[in-house]
């Protein structure tokens, strides 16, 4: 035990490890706050969908011959996120189907373009980074860490200030609109912060992990808690604990960070599932 502690202590001395811990915790916190709404609005897979959109954009950038494709990719991903979410629940195509359509469509178009114009530089490398995170989370620059901190602070402030609106819109958008809430403005706001978090997290930790961070804490808390507030608080706490634990384990054992966090999330889900079953059993 003390050996592990010593090893941890040794690694924590490094600024890059501390930076990675901070960024990981902040992203876990933000995505879990939004996760409850995303899961309830049938947008669980938005992270995966958007990474395919990013892939499509990269293919286009490669074909056009852009050397620095980052701005284009970011813009396209953010716009797709807003288009997907802004419409809210009043669309003909429901959330999950819309995400699936965009994701498959972008993937197909991107792959087709790469085949028709096979001059692209390093698209497969780029694809890998959108799936698993660009810079390994340990090589973040100071600028990236700062951006992450600012953005997380904004997301948290918006979430706390608009918590009541988020609940009203998620629970019954028609009622909110009928009784004078400016739902389209709030939908746009929610969509913008979701887009910001997802685009940022996609670059730092990859879309596989962002999907897990969105889905698992929310679903775990919903097994046990039955009010919106308790589910939100619980998933935020749970997400931070799992991310921290996952990162520490990966430091000690040398396993890949992203997948370790996801495995910890899976364990926490199993535990909450069991607690949920026990609670139901006690009631009966």
């Amino acid at each position: 035990m003390s050996e592990i502690m010593e090893k941890l202590y040794f690694y924590i001395q490094f600024p890059m490890v501390r930076k990675a811990l901070i960024v990981g915790v902040l992203i876990a916190l933000c995505s879990s706050l939004l996760g409850v709404t995303l899961v309830l609005k049938r947008f669980s897979f938005i992270g995966d969908g958007l990474s395919h959109v990013a892939f499509g954009a990269m293919a286009v950038a490669a074909v056009v011959g852009l050397t620095n494709n980052m701005p284009l990719v970011l813009a396209v991903t953010a716009i797709s996120a807003i288009l997907l979410l802004r419409t809210g629940t009043n669309t003909r195509i429901k959330g999950d189907a819309a995400v699936a359509m965009i994701s498959v469509g972008a993937l197909a178009v991107g792959y087709l373009l790469m085949n028709v114009f096979p001059k692209s530089g390093n698209v497969s490398g780029d694809v890998c980074t959108t799936l698993f995170g660009s810079t390994s989370i340990l090589t973040l620059s100071k600028k990236e860490v700062l951006l992450c901190i600012i953005l997380s602070a904004v997301v948290m402030a918006v979430f706390v200030l608009f918590y009541n609106k988020v609940f009203a819109l998620t629970f019954d958008e028609d009622f909110a609109r009928a009784t004078g809430t400016r739902t389209s403005a709030y939908n746009l706001l929610i969509a913008m912060i979701v887009a910001a978090v997802i685009v940022l997290a996609m670059n730092l930790v990859g879309s596989l992990l962002i999907s897990a961070l969105v889905i698992f804490p929310a679903l775990s808390s919903m097994r046990v808690f039955k009010t919106f507030r308790s589910v939100t608080v619980c998933s935020a706490v749970l997400s931070v604990i799992c991310a921290l634990l996952g990162m520490l384990v990966s430091i000690v054992t040398g396993t890949p960070v992203g997948s370790t966090i996801v495995v910890v999330d899976i364990f926490s889900f199993l535990i909450f599932y069991l607690i949920g079953l026990l609670k139901e059993g006690v009631k009966k």
């Binding site: 009541n164 609106k165 609940f167 028609d174 009622f175 009784t179 039955k226 589910v231």
Partner: protein, 231 residues
């Protein structure tokens, strides 16, 4: 001036007409009952009045300085997801969402009023329970309490007593009557319960093959005339 006036209003979905050329006006303090067969377009009319469904043609004018966030609404059905985590109190309180505008939090007075409305609906002991785990009638009362929170001038109710037991139905009608008589809140209610409609309403709107709009007395005499005609 009327609180809500409809001029040559044509309702429908995607160009398919359901009701044509409706004309009626509701004044402050009125109690309007909308009656008609299943599928005749009552819910569609209510959604159009609320701005949830666009009208095909014609216009709706809000008068008397009526603002959208002074309107309470009870939907006919709310498609809530199977495992949506939300307590009764959270849902009722969300009725104030429109009224509170840009303000981020609900006030102490609003929280008190939400509890008061929960008590009025006789579900006070359920206030911490999960909405999804309630019976249909209990859920209906929760949504009614939420509608009361949103109301300050006008309340629109889509079949408010469907799913309620006899006692709750009586209680419901007396709450609406009180709201109308004492707090001067205008009521527009869809109902299949004609006898109650004739008992409480000041005006009747019948939607169907032949539309009718007028005072309750006119509707009663019209119905009497129809009966004698048939004999």
């Amino acid at each position: 001036m009327a609180l809500i006036a409809c001029k040559n209003l044509t309702l429908g979905y995607g160009g398919r007409v359901i009701v044509k050329d409706l004309n009626f006006a509701v004044n402050t303090g009125n109690y309007l009952c909308i009656v008609g067969e299943n599928g005749s377009g009552k819910t569609t009319l209510m959604k159009t009045l609320l701005g949830l469904t666009p009208a095909i043609s014609g216009g709706i004018v809000l008068g008397d300085g009526l603002k959208r966030n002074e309107i309470g609404y009870l939907p006919q059905q709310t498609a809530v997801q199977r495992d949506f985590p939300a307590s009764v109190y959270e849902i009722v309180l969300s009725g104030f969402c429109g009224k509170s505008g840009i303000a981020p939090f609900y006030t102490a007075a609003q929280k008190k009023e939400a509890l008061e409305n929960i008590r009025k609906m006789g579900i006070f002991d359920l206030k911490g329970r999960c909405y999804r785990e309630l019976s249909g009638g209990q859920q209906q009362r929760v949504l009614l309490a939420r509608a009361l929170c949103a109301t300050s001038k006008l309340i629109l109710l889509d079949e408010p007593v469907s799913g309620l037991d006899a006692r709750a139905t009586e209680g419901m009608y007396s709450i609406i009557e009180k709201l109308n008589k004492e707090e001067k809140i205008t009521v527009i209610m869809i109902s299949h319960d004609i006898s109650a409609a004739l008992k409480y309403a000041t005006h009747i709107l019948h939607i169907g093959a032949d539309c009718f709009f007028g005072r309750r007395e006119e509707y009663i005499s019209l119905k009497k005339a129809e009966v004698t005609d048939n004999e």
